[in-house]
């Protein structure tokens, strides 16, 4: 979530769409040379300069948390598979894979004769070591990666090009899980995986890093820059560029200014909607495409919440609130038209898993008023309705980072409409850490309402898991807990037949759309900008620079 938290997911966002393979876009000449592809010539060479407002907090995959750290691992370490712009999972270090009839054994055939950048062999054994190590120290040093090996029993490499993963039960999303695991060089890391594994977290893994992906991280200066050079030993298609750099900015204003003044060739999402017009006017390529994030209105769903706001559990109240949100106005004013009204928690841009039957709720203050009347909340003095003996006045918790972007504007649109139906909303902005803890406080008994966002992964498993009882005090930001929902969650996790899984995933979305722990407000577009001197970076999963794919930087080239 982003939501919540954000960062987490704001950062590790995954998947998604797009764009045309770069090779197709190629044209012409120069720079450091040229290569032919399908009749056109692609310019070789050059350094693509990217700006970001995220950061690399650590180069150790067992410590890192920020999104750019994960993107770095994607480019320097092999992954078994990766996403294409159309969100299809395709080969990367694994060339092919098979599944046993019971869905518990996955056998991957990996690239032969691959090498790490230091010349040592890169084999299936490195992959087996990585998965095994994560499992071995899952309760300690590798806990931050343990989710990727859920239900995995063993990882073995019977030969140099075969990796066998066995699971204790069928797992529906094996490919999207292993896609997120960077395969690390055993010959570098094995020495730290001894004893209780604590050394795995103290090893800093400083640049230059022995790499097996399309790029080598040659230099990293904290809070300033990370430089990636083309890896001549890479097993896959070679990048057209000599390398790329990632410069860290603290504000998007400075980042966009640097792009406009030619100090950068591209900036990572999100480009503020307010910058779109000026960037277009300056002839930059600006792409605004359906995003995988959503903004939400969270209503405390814990049945044990304090009596002073227990009416928030009333389905009529939730329906009324949903009708009182003017989604069209929010998209037009808050997002400046760069977004869509929201409906379900699995955004349409994530692909096949979003239930198209769930539509945005219509804006109607009359309906909202009738629903509140029906619930018995009569209008009291001062224009506020009375529920359970007290005026309907609620505190809305909002994280400061989103408040300073656009969510505050959204609140300013929603608040007066709620006032018209006799409900007072009072904004309380806290920094993300404090805001999240305010939601979790007293085991979800205290908070009333919150506004936040989420960045679901392409596979729906993670977003659906957020609302399970097991996610209490970790990702669950609603206090929602339902045994029936949890059972469906387990069912979809083990449903290896995609059609069958989709049915369950739809059913879960309908449950949430009906229980309304979240009122999904909108889906902000993914907005990216880059120099017109380069081929468009393909967008994968709501961005062209993330941990879902190496295709963007491998395919980009000068025009």
């Amino acid at each position: 979530m982003m939501g919540l938290p954000m960062s987490g997911l704001r950062k590790h966002r995954p998947a998604a769409l797009l764009a045309a393979a770069a090779a197709v876009l190629a044209v012409a000449a120069c720079g450091g040379g040229s290569a032919s592809s399908g009749g056109s010539t692609i310019k070789q060479g050059g350094v693509f300069r990217m700006g970001t407002s995220s950061t690399i907090d650590s180069l150790n995959p067992f410590i890192a948390f920020q999104s750019d750290a994960y993107t770095t691992f994607e480019y320097i370490y092999p992954t078994l598979v990766q996403y294409t712009p159309s969100l299809k999972i395709v080969e990367n270090f694994a060339r092919s894979w098979t599944t046993s009839p019971d869905g518990r054994t996955w056998t991957f055939t990996t690239r032969p004769n691959a090498k790490w950048s230091d010349g040592k062999p890169l084999t299936a054994a490195d992959a087996a070591w990585t998965f095994s190590t994560i499992m071995k120290f899952a309760d300690g040093a590798t806990a931050n990666s343990a989710g990727y090996v859920a239900h995995m029993k063993s990882a073995t490499a019977p030969d140099a090009t075969t990796l066998v993963l066995t699971y204790s039960q069928p797992v529906a999303n094996v490919l999207s899980q292993v896609q997120q695991v960077p395969i690390m060089p055993e010959h570098i890391w094995a020495q730290y995986a001894t004893g209780n594994g604590k050394a795995l977290k103290t090893f800093q893994n400083n640049a230059p890093i022995v790499s097996g992906g399309p790029f080598i991280l040659t230099k990293y200066t904290p809070k300033q820059v990370a430089l990636f050079k083309k890896n001549p030993a890479f097993y896959g298609p070679k990048p057209h560029i000599d390398g790329f750099g990632l410069q860290f900015f603290q504000t998007t204003d400075a980042e966009v200014t640097a792009l406009k003044s030619g100090q950068l060739d591209g900036v990572e999402v999100p480009v503020p909607p307010t910058s779109v017009a000026t960037l277009k006017a300056a002839h930059f390529q600006v792409r605004s495409s359906p995003g995988v994030a959503f903004d939400d209105f969270i209503i405390n769903s814990n049945p044990q919440q304090q009596a002073s706001h227990k009416e928030l559990l009333n389905p009529l109240l939730r329906q009324a609130f949903d009708h009182a949100i003017n989604r069209q106005a929010v998209v037009a004013t808050s997002l400046l038209g760069h977004g869509q009204p929201g409906s379900t928690i699995i955004p349409p841009a994530t692909g096949q898993w979003s239930d198209p039957a769930i539509k945005p709720v219509s804006f109607s203050l009359a309906t909202a008023g009738q629903l509140l009347d029906q619930a018995g909340y009569k209008m009291g003095p001062n224009g506020l309705r009375i529920a359970n003996g007290h005026p309907m006045s609620y505190t809305v918790i909002m994280p400061s980072d989103l408040a300073s972007e656009y969510l505050n504007r959204t609140f300013q649109i929603i608040q007066p409409d709620f006032k018209k139906i006799g409900v007072q909303l009072n904004l309380k902005v806290l920094d993300p850490s404090a805001a999240y803890d305010a939601i979790l406080a007293n085991n979800y008994r205290n908070f009333e309402i919150s506004m936040w966002d989420w960045f679901p992964l392409t596979d729906p498993d993670f977003m659906l898991s957020v609302l399970t009882c097991n996610s209490f005090n970790v990702w669950n930001d609603t206090g929602y807990c339902s045994k029936a929902y949890d059972n469906l969650y387990s069912e979809q996790s083990a449903a290896v037949n995609p059609a069958q899984r989709r049915q369950v995933v739809y059913q879960m979305q309908q449950m949430i759309a009906s229980a309304q722990p979240y009122l999904v407000i909108d889906y902000p577009d993914s907005i990216e900008a880059q120099s017109s001197h380069w081929s468009p970076l393909p967008e994968v999963g709501g961005g062209s620079f993330n941990s879902m794919s190496t295709i963007p930087m491998v395919s980009v080239h000068r025009l």
Binding site: V47, T202, K223, L227, D253
Partner: protein, 321 residues
């Protein structure tokens, strides 16, 4: 011994203040709402077990008083701890940040002092004249600007002319020659240092002007005039020297804050200094980084105050306690 008593007394006060500051540093961040493991435990499919593992790893599951004793013990050994966010020693991280901060903030602060003193003296000397009005009003004008707003305006105004962020050209795969590198840093430093200078020089101008006016009205200045000394000499040799006493305190305080960086300026211009490090650490509730950063800040301010006390003692023989 007037001198020994004074120094011992001031030194004792400085030590007590440092101890109190160290203690406040410990509790201040822990009473903030939010939690050190809130962010770090939110990785996909995280479990409450991961949250607990992190609490244990960072020692946050222990009672506060026990954490406090461990903190004091580590400090006594010169150990500032390990950053929660990236598991590196806080002292190394802060040292790297300080190296980036000090040149930029020093340039900005020294420029502010020089310009402030000069314009303050000029204003007092030409009291009531057009230059006085211009200088005083300009000082108040810039002093009134919020730093972050002025920084953003400069950033937009100089887009394309000066770098928008960072402290050197980041996209160089090979090291550039030393002098070229120095010039590159100077170019990147210009806007942040100028922002600092513009927002700070006003206070110097006003303090110096006010102090100078007081001094220029003293009898000895009248005597100097009566002796027929040139105006320039009266101003710079007789008036300014005596008028600078209040400035010593102001400068000592400002220099102390140099090591704290200029948080807003560093954030706006993405300057990788200690202010930026504190800003990130607050968001992440990285207690060891925050404690370390604030420790350096408080100790420098207190020590420079101590130095200012000593200077006062030296400059003004009337001071004895």
């Amino acid at each position: 011994m007037r001198g020994a008593d004074y120094i011992i007394k001031r030194g004792f006060f400085a030590l007590v203040t440092i101890y109190v500051a160290i203690t406040i540093n410990f509790f201040l961040f822990r009473v903030l709402p939010g939690n050190a493991v809130t962010d770090l435990s939110r990785v996909p499919h995280a479990s409450p077990a991961l949250r607990h593992a992190l609490l244990t790893e960072f020692g946050l599951d222990k009672p506060k008083w026990e954490q406090y004793l461990i903190y004091l013990k580590n400090l006594a050994h010169g150990n500032m701890g390990i950053s929660f966010a990236n598991q590196q020693p806080v002292s190394h991280l802060l040292l790297a940040d300080l190296k980036n901060t000090i040149p930029m903030v020093t340039v900005g602060t020294v420029a502010a002092i020089v310009i402030g003193v000069f314009t303050g003296v000029l204003s007092a000397w030409r009291r009531g004249s057009a230059p006085d009005h211009l200088s005083t009003n300009t000082a108040i004008f810039f002093y009134a600007f919020p730093t972050q707003w002025l920084g953003l305006m400069l950033l937009i105004l100089f887009a394309g002319i000066l770098p928008a962020g960072g402290m050197s050209d980041p996209f160089l795969f090979t090291a550039e020659p030393f002098w070229q590198h120095l010039g590159d840093i100077a170019k990147h430093m210009f806007l942040p240092a100028a922002t600092l200078m513009l927002t700070a020089f006003g206070s110097y101008t006003l303090v110096v002007r006010s102090s100078m006016l007081e001094t220029l009205g003293e009898d000895y200045v009248l005597t100097a005039r009566a002796k027929g000394l040139p105006t320039r000499r009266i101003v710079w040799r007789h008036a300014v020297r005596n008028a600078l006493l209040p400035l010593v305190t102001l400068i000592a305080l400002e220099l102390g804050f140099i090591v704290g960086g200029a948080l807003l300026v560093e954030v706006i211009f993405s300057w990788p200094g200690i202010g930026l490090a504190m800003y990130s650490a607050i968001g992440q509730r990285d207690y060891p980084m925050l404690q370390g950063g604030f420790l350096i800040l408080t100790v420098s301010v207190i020590m420079l105050n101590f130095v200012a006390d000593l200077l006062y003692f030296r400059l003004d023989p009337r001071i004895s306690t």
